[in-house]
Every structure is written in C-alpha cells, then in structure tokens.
C-alpha cells in the first residue's frame, strides 16, 4: 500500500475540516483549531496546510457565498474527500493498535 504521510499540523487541519463539516473555510478552521487544541494557528499556516492537503487530494474545495464581513469576497469551502477519510481512519487505526499494545506497567502517562 502506498504510504500516505501527513504532518501533525496537517492531520489536525484535516480533522478540523471533518469536524466542521459544511462550514470549513480558512477563518473557521483557524478558530476551531484554537478552540479544540488551545494553540493559535495563523491564517497563513492554515492556508498553507489546506493547500498541501488539496494537492494530496485529501480535501476538495468549492467557492462559497460572499458575506459582508469579508468585504464582499467569497470564501473557499473545504470538504474531506474519500481519500482523506480513509487516511484519517488509517491513522486512527494505527494509533489505536499501538495504544492497545502498550502493557499496563509501561503506562506512566496515564497513572496520574
């Protein structure tokens, strides 16, 4: 299987798009990331990641409607593609499997 590589930030952006559903565009994604992870994500970083994800065919985009607060400019709305979905699932499976294979005595992080 062709290995698909996603950076950590890309993964977060992709997840956020999936979380946001129909309303995923630059500003909303940036806001959501801040909300979800507590870290600030600059617009340019988000755009760059979206651009890369689109190049990797994990995102699909279309132009949305224009709003007044945007100075009458349209927003680009993103949705996760099938490939994006599969990739997210794969990542999740791998992670879960790994989590599951950690023996309890090696679980310092969870024993508060």
């Amino acid at each position: 299987m062709k290995r698909i590589y996603l950076g950590e930030f890309e993964e977060i952006v992709l997840l956020t798009v999936a979380v946001l559903g129909d309303g995923a565009y630059g500003v909303s994604i940036s806001d959501a990331i801040e909300e979800q992870t507590g870290r600030s994500a600059s617009l340019s970083a988000v755009h760059a990641a979206l651009h890369r994800l689109q190049e990797k065919s994990m995102l699909h985009s279309r132009m949305g409607e224009a709003t007044a607060e945007r100075g009458g400019r349209r927003k680009r709305l993103f949705t996760v593609t099938a490939l994006g979905n599969r990739t997210l699932n794969e990542i999740r499976t791998v992670r879960n499997r790994m989590w599951d294979s950690i023996s309890p005595q090696n679980f310092p992080a969870v024993s508060i």
Binding site: G26, L43, H47, H51, T67, R70, R73, R74
Partner: protein
C-alpha cells in the same frame, strides 16, 4: 451607519502584488473577516498589527504568483505566432520574397563590407608587438614643400643605435623588398626578399618553424618562409643547406619561419638574408657607410621602441638625429626624423606637405558609409512593404480583437512576423556571403573568411537582425494594434491622407542614395579611363622589361643584342636604369645658366643606352636623339618638357648643364627635348627628368618584340637566347603595358566594388518600388475598374499609377545630383590629373534611374490597367 474600519491599505496592496490571483479572493476574504472580528474584539490598532503580520505570513511559496503557471500557455502562443507568421509569408509569396531577398541582399553587402573593414583594421596585427613597432620616417623641405619619405641615410642606423639606443628595444636596417634569384642546385626561382639585421625576426615576432630567429647573426645566412623552403627544398630539411642568392652570395639556411599572413605589410617577404651580407656585396652601400653619406636616402629602418617609453617621447628625442649631422648646405632641407607606427602603416600613409592626410582609411570610411546606406535601403524596403501591407490587415486586427485578443498579443504577433522575416533573411545572407566571398576576395585583393567562430560576428549579426525586426515591425505592431475593432469592422476606418507620407519620404531617401552611388561610380570609372588614356609620351606596344637581377646579366650587352636581333624575335634591345613604369633615381645638384640659386635642382635621372628612344618611341619636340655617330654623346643629355619648364630656360638645345658644384664636375650638353614621358604615377604631373647615356649604370633590359610575330612566339625566341647566354638566371619578364595597368589596380578595385554596390542599391530600391507599386495597384483595383467603365484608356491608367512614383524619383534626383557633385568633386581634387564632371553624367544617371523606375512600376500599372472591370467590380 457604522463606518467600517479598514485594514492598512499598503498591506493589502502588498498582498495583491505577491499573491497568486487564484488565491487572492479567499485569502483576502479570510484576512478581512479576521480583521473585522479582531477590530471589534481588541480594537483597531491591534487588529491592524495582526493583519500586517498575517499578510507577511502569507509570503510563502504556495501563495506566490507563480511564474511557472504560464509557460505552457506562452509556449503555445509563441509557436502559434510563428505559425500564423509563416502562413502569412506563404500566402503572400510575392511580397515575402521581395521582402526577404531585398533584406538579404542588403545584409550580404553589409556583412561583406563589415568583413572587409574588419580585415583592414586588423592589418599587421599578426605581429605581437603591433603597437610598439614603427618605421623611421623623415620630413624634408624642398622648394617650399615638406615631403615625407621612409628612405633613410645609412649613418642614421648606427647613430640611433649609439646615441639613442636606450629608446629602442630592437632596431633593424633594411633595403627594399624586391625580386632576387634564389638557387639551390639546379633549382632557380625569383623570390621577394630583403636584407635585414638580426633584430628583425624578433621585432616582427616571426614564428620560427625550424632553426632559430638568431640565425641572422651569422653573416652568410638566410631565413626562408615556409612556402619558399617548400619550393626550394621540397620535403628535405632546409636547415643548414647551402644555397645562393642572385648567383653570387653563398648563404646557409639557418631558419624557416611561418608564412606571413596576407593582411600584413610584410606579406611579400619570402626570405630574409643579412644586412651585413648586403653591405659587403654592394660597394655603393659601403661608400654610403664609409663616407658617412647623410644625404643618400636609400635604406629603410624598422624599430621597436623600448618597453618603458612611448612613441611621443621617442619622436621628441630623435627629431634632429639627422639634422645635427648633415653638411651645412643640406641644413636647408630641415630633416626631421619621426616614427611611423605600425598601426598606421596600412591605413594612414599619405602625406601632403608634411601633414598626414589619411590613406586607405578613407576607403574604410567610404565603404563603411556605403554599407550602412545599402543596409538602410534594405530596411526601408522592409518597413515600407510591411506598413503598406499592414493596412490590409486592419480587418484581421479587428476580428482578432473582437474574439478576445489583447493588445499585447497583437503586438507579439506582428513582432514575431517581422522577426521571422529578418531571421530568414539573415540566414539567406550568410549563404550569399559564403557564395560571393571568393569573387569578393578576388576583386578586393583580400583573403577574407567568414568569422564563424568569432562571437562578436554573431552578436553583431543577430543583434542587427533583432534591431531591424523590431524597427520594421514597430509600425504595424504598435499602430495597428491600437485600432478599435468596431470601427475597423464596420468599415469606417480609413488611413489618413498623410499615412503614406513617411513611406514616400523613405522612397525618396532610397533613390537619393542609389542615384548618388551610381553617379559616383560613373565618375570613378571616368577618372580611371581618363588616366588610362593619358598620353604617355612613348609607345608601350610590344615592350618587355627584364630586371638585371644578377651579375650574369652585365657585360653581355652587344652579345645579347646581336643574338636577339638575329633570332628575329626582337626588333631592338636596350638597357636603362629604371623600368619604364617607374623612376628609380632622383638626383639634385644640377647647375645651369640663369638658375635661381634658391631652387633645389631635383630631377628624375634615367640612364639609357643608344637606341633607347627609337625602341620606346619617344617623341622629340626639339633637337635630336642620342646617336652612335657622335662620340661626344657620352656627355649629352636629353630633357623632357617638364624639365625645360622647371629650369625656366629658352632654346635649351645646345646649352650646358653641370652636375655638381666642384670644379671638375661633369658638364652635359643638351641635345634634345622630348615630350613628357609618363613613368611614375598616372595621376600626377610628369616630373622634370634628364636622360643620359651610360652602358654601366643600368638595371633593366628593354626589348621591343618583333611586331610581325605573336608575342608568345617572340618571347619563346627571346627566352632561348637568354637561356643560352645567361643560363644562371631565370627568364623573368614584364610587359610594360601590364605594369602600367597595374598602377590602376587600387582605383579599378574601388570602381568595381563601388559599381557592384551601386547596382545592388538600385536593385534593392527597385525591388521596394515594385512591391509598393503592386500594392498601390491592388488597393486601387476598384477605382481603376470604375475609371475603365467610364472610358479611361490603358495609357491614362498607366499614367495615373506611374505618376506618383516618377514624382518621387524626380525629387530624389534633385537631391542626389548636388550631393554627388559635392562629394565627387572633393574626391577628384586629390588627383592632379583628373577628369571633369560634365553634365551628361548626371543626365545619364537621371534618365537611367527614371527609366528603371518606369520599367518597374509599369509592369504593375499595366497589369492593373488591363484587368477586366467586370471582375473587379463584381464583388462588393
């Protein structure tokens, strides 16, 4: 209404500048949204700060305007431009070929002239020390005129070495490069060579192939050029072989040097022997040395100045090197010694009254100007035709624009068309240059090659092509592309009344240049013809000259004469001191009764044997020829008319002339006066000359071939006699008429080149005219049809169409004639014996160019006039 805060404008601008267009909307939208939110939450200042930070954050590759997003598209467009351009060329084959051929012809001329100029300017650059080598030159004043000459007195050489040695790195005395007989075993051949000092090979940086450049240090040695060595020795090693010069000097070959290239002043130097050998073999040279003859200017001196000095300093130092040493009675000549740098030998070697007046550099300028003009003519054609054609393409422009072409694309379209034409023309011209080069080299006496490997040649050629393409393409590209499609397509567009004005002006310029060139050519030929037909004062027919280049020739006068005459090949044989086509000796110091003491009595002096006059056929004005009947004729003298005028005496026959100022100086009795006999330059007045009898002081044999036999038959007979009596010398003869004709070589060459260029100029101009005429005829087809229907005759229509062009040519005639007269009159001034510019030359040039114009235009005019009006008017 709440006034919305605005993000900083400069930051938005910056974003627009660097951000890719297809991303700009969403990015700006996101930034704006974030800004508005920030402004509401945290205030305007903080929002602005973050906006700027965000904009700067977008300066990363994914958002940049991508240069690479257009290449495929541009590539396709450019290939499309050329495709369309090519289709246009093929569609209008006539125009295209006129355009390309005209331009290629112009470029060919320009390239040939460019190569010629390059060759002229690189003359002598073969020598490494090109800019430090010079020949010694002296200015002397005589009868109020200052003359420059390169002949030097013997003692000047040692003087320069001893007193001024620190100024020179190398110094070499030399005699004059001329024919000498080289012999090795049975092989004998005439080769041009010189006798020089050991410094010369270093001074001229000869490239030694065998042996050493120091070879000349040994008195009896000789250096051979590569080709001479081949001719004499074939494949055997020439070094250390023993051979003879002029059958009397034994020498050993000590070196072989690479042949000097054709564009060097020393190109004729086929061998170099030693100066010491020359001195030891010639008693008169020894006398010049031993008696310190400062007045005997018979040698050349070449020098390379020291490394730490320059020509100016050396010139100052050596100025009086001769004057300080000459006898008191020669001080009046005010001899000034100067250096003539190698860089000026070829191009600047004319002097008039002590001032350098150029030389071949004038021809460099002349042809440079001609080349530029011919090229301009070709460019004008190109421009005229493309502007004329372009009006037809206005509709095309309209449609293109309507379909959605932007102006930039139309500009590129037209430029690529003109560039294509120019590049094809350039390629064609390279082919034409290659083909015509051998002819050109022959006419111009050059050995030029195309500088295929010279980057400058390519830069110049391609640079020029681009330049022409841009200039010629600029009118259609910039003007046509500005049309409004609505007007053009509706048909309301019309070129203004004056749209053709620049075109007309250019045609006038073309014909002015062409006619000027033609008039110039005619005048050059007239001048050559005029000088050729100049009365020479003797009869050249069947006169053959043989130089007495070895001692074997001497003392056999009677024997030779009797044998030659009895063989029937030769009518008469005489000997004399100069060839018939040159004066080898000039002498001063003549005294006569009533002589102005201030006058420098400088005469051409020619020694002859009996029957000289009869043989060459000179004409007596007064008195008689030398005669065997008078034993006193050994002290008789014959003058020419110029001498009588110069001396200012009446009744010259019978008077005495004394040569020298001593008491026992010889007296000569004038026995006759001949009509001027032209021996030197055919463009200058004949110099005052004296002819004396001497069986000893002779260098040339002159034969009058038997007119009853053919020249080749007679020469074969003469050769037999020479081979029998003088077996050691090759039978090497020159016809007096050929030698005379060779004096016109330079002028004939210029004339031939000028006529070819003038011809091409008129050809190019007519080509342009032809194109324009056909264009005009095409444009007026409807008008002609209407006129025909209304009853106009073919003659009327022909007149209508030709009139405009004839007018233009008439205007250019009016400009060309005074211009040509001015320049050619100036050119003729430098010849003392010159033709006059008569009115018929202008008439011929004028009528000729009008005739050619009519011929060119009429073809199109008559073709248009003969068309069936039904056909032309049918479609609307």
């Amino acid at each position: 209404m709440i006034k919305r805060t605005q993000p900083p404008r400069w930051a938005s601008r910056l974003l627009e500048w660097f951000c890719a267009d297809h991303l700009l909307e969403e990015i700006r939208g996101d930034l704006e949204e974030r800004f508005q939110k920030n402004a509401a939450l945290f205030g305007e200042r903080s929002a602005k700060r973050e906006y700027v930070a965000n904009v700067l954050g977008f300066m990363r590759p994914f958002a940049w305007k991508e240069k690479s997003s257009t290449p495929l598209y541009t590539q396709i467009m450019i290939s499309n431009y050329f495709k369309i351009a090519f289709r246009n060329l093929v569609k209008h084959k006539g125009y295209s070929s006129i355009n390309i051929v005209g331009l290629a012809t112009g470029m060919t001329v320009a390239i040939l002239i460019g190569l010629w100029i390059y060759d002229e300017l690189s003359y002598d650059k073969y020598h490494k020390n090109y800019d430090r080598v010079a020949q010694l030159l002296q200015y002397q004043t005589s009868n109020g005129n200052e003359f420059a000459e390169v002949a030097m007195p013997f003692p000047l050489g040692p003087e320069l070495k001893n007193k001024y040695g620190s100024h020179f790195k190398y110094l070499s005395m030399a005699t004059w490069t001329g024919d000498n007989i080289l012999s090795f075993g049975d092989k004998k051949m005439n080769k041009k060579g010189n006798f020089m000092e050991p410094d010369f090979p270093k001074l001229a940086s000869l490239k030694m192939i065998h042996g050493s450049e120091d070879g000349l240090k040994e008195q009896n040695s000789i250096l051979l050029s590569e080709s001479t060595a081949k001719a004499l020795f074939g494949e055997t090693d020439p070094v250390n072989q023993l051979m003879k010069i002029n059958n009397k000097l034994d020498v050993r070959v000590t070196g072989v040097y690479e042949d000097l290239p054709y564009n060097t002043e020393f190109r004729e130097l086929e061998f170099i022997s030693t100066w010491a050998l020359f001195v030891s073999s010639e008693p008169w040279v020894q006398r010049a040395r031993d008696q310190n003859q400062w007045g005997n200017n018979s040698f050349q001196i070449f020098a390379q100045i020291a490394d730490n000095t320059d020509f100016e300093t050396v010139n100052k130092a050596i100025l009086n090197a001769k004057l300080n040493n000459v006898a008191d009675d020669e001080k009046k000549y005010k001899a000034k010694i100067q250096l003539h740098p190698m860089s000026e030998w070829h191009l600047r070697s004319n002097w008039e009254n002590g001032i350098q007046t150029g030389g071949a550099i004038e021809y460099v300028w002349l042809f440079g100007v001609v080349g530029v003009f011919v090229l301009i003519l070709a460019c004008i054609n190109f421009m005229n035709l493309s502007t004329a054609r372009s009006e037809k393409r206005a509709k095309e422009v309209g449609i293109r624009k309507a379909i959605g072409s932007v102006r930039g694309q139309l500009i590129s379209q037209f430029f690529s068309e003109s560039l294509l034409v120019v590049l094809i023309a350039f390629a064609l011209s390279l082919v034409m240059v290659q083909l015509s080069l051998s002819w050109f080299n022959e006419v111009a006496d050059k050995k030029i090659e195309i500088l295929w490997t010279n980057p400058f040649f390519w830069i110049a050629g391609i640079g020029f092509s681009l330049f022409t393409g841009l200039i010629a393409g600029s009118y259609p590209a910039l003007y046509l592309s500005s049309f409004q499609p609505v007007k053009v397509l509706k048909g309301t567009f019309k070129a203004g009344r004056f749209a053709s004005m620049p075109r007309k002006a250019l045609v006038v310029l073309q014909f002015t240049v062409s006619v000027t060139l033609i008039i110039g050519t005619i005048i050059v030929y007239r001048q050559i013809q005029h000088s050729k037909n100049r009365p020479v004062g003797y009869n050249r027919d069947g006169l053959v000259m043989i130089q007495m280049s070895s001692p074997d020739f001497y003392g056999k006068f009677d024997l030779l004469r009797n044998e030659l005459k009895s063989s029937g090949a030769v009518e008469e044989m005489v000997e004399c001191s100069s060839p018939l086509t040159g004066v080898w000796s000039n002498s001063g110091g003549f005294q006569w009764q009533g002589k102005d003491p201030e006058l420098d009595a400088d005469f051409a002096t020619v020694w002859v044997t009996h029957d000289f006059g009869k043989t060459v056929g000179w004409e007596f004005k007064e008195g008689r020829d030398f005669s065997r009947d008078f034993s006193t004729d050994t002290s008789a003298i014959v003058l020419n008319e110029a001498a009588v005028r110069f001396m200012g005496i009446k009744d010259p026959v019978g008077q005495t002339v004394k040569w020298g100022s001593d008491k026992d100086a010889p007296n000569f009795k004038i026995v006759g006066v001949i009509r001027d006999m032209l021996m030197d330059s055919p463009y200058e007045p004949v110099k005052q000359a004296v002819y004396m009898l001497s069986p000893h002081n002779v260098n040339w044999i002159v034969l009058k071939l038997n007119p009853a036999k053919s020249a080749s038959e007679s020469l074969a007979g003469a050769e037999k006699v020479f081979k029998k009596l003088i077996p050691a010398a090759p039978f090497d003869y020159k016809f007096a008429s050929t030698e005379f004709a060779s004096k016109f070589d330079a002028e004939v060459r210029i004339g031939k080149l000028a006529s070819v260029f003038a011809g091409l100029a008129i050809f190019i101009s007519c080509l342009g005219l032809f194109g324009l005429a056909s264009f005009v005829a095409e444009q007026r087809t409807k008008e002609i049809g209407v006129r025909k229907v209304l009853g106009a005759s073919v003659f009327n229509l022909w007149k209508l169409l030709s009139k405009d062009f004839v007018m233009l040519v008439l205007i250019s005639l009016f400009i060309a004639i005074p211009v040509a007269w001015y320049f050619m009159n100036d050119w003729l001034q430098k010849y003392d014996y010159r033709t006059d510019i008569s009115w018929w030359i202008f008439a011929v040039a004028g009528v000729g160019s009008l005739f050619i114009t009519l011929l060119t235009v009429s073809y199109q005019a008559i073709k248009a006039a003969l068309m069936n009006p039904v056909k032309t008017l049918k479609s609307e």
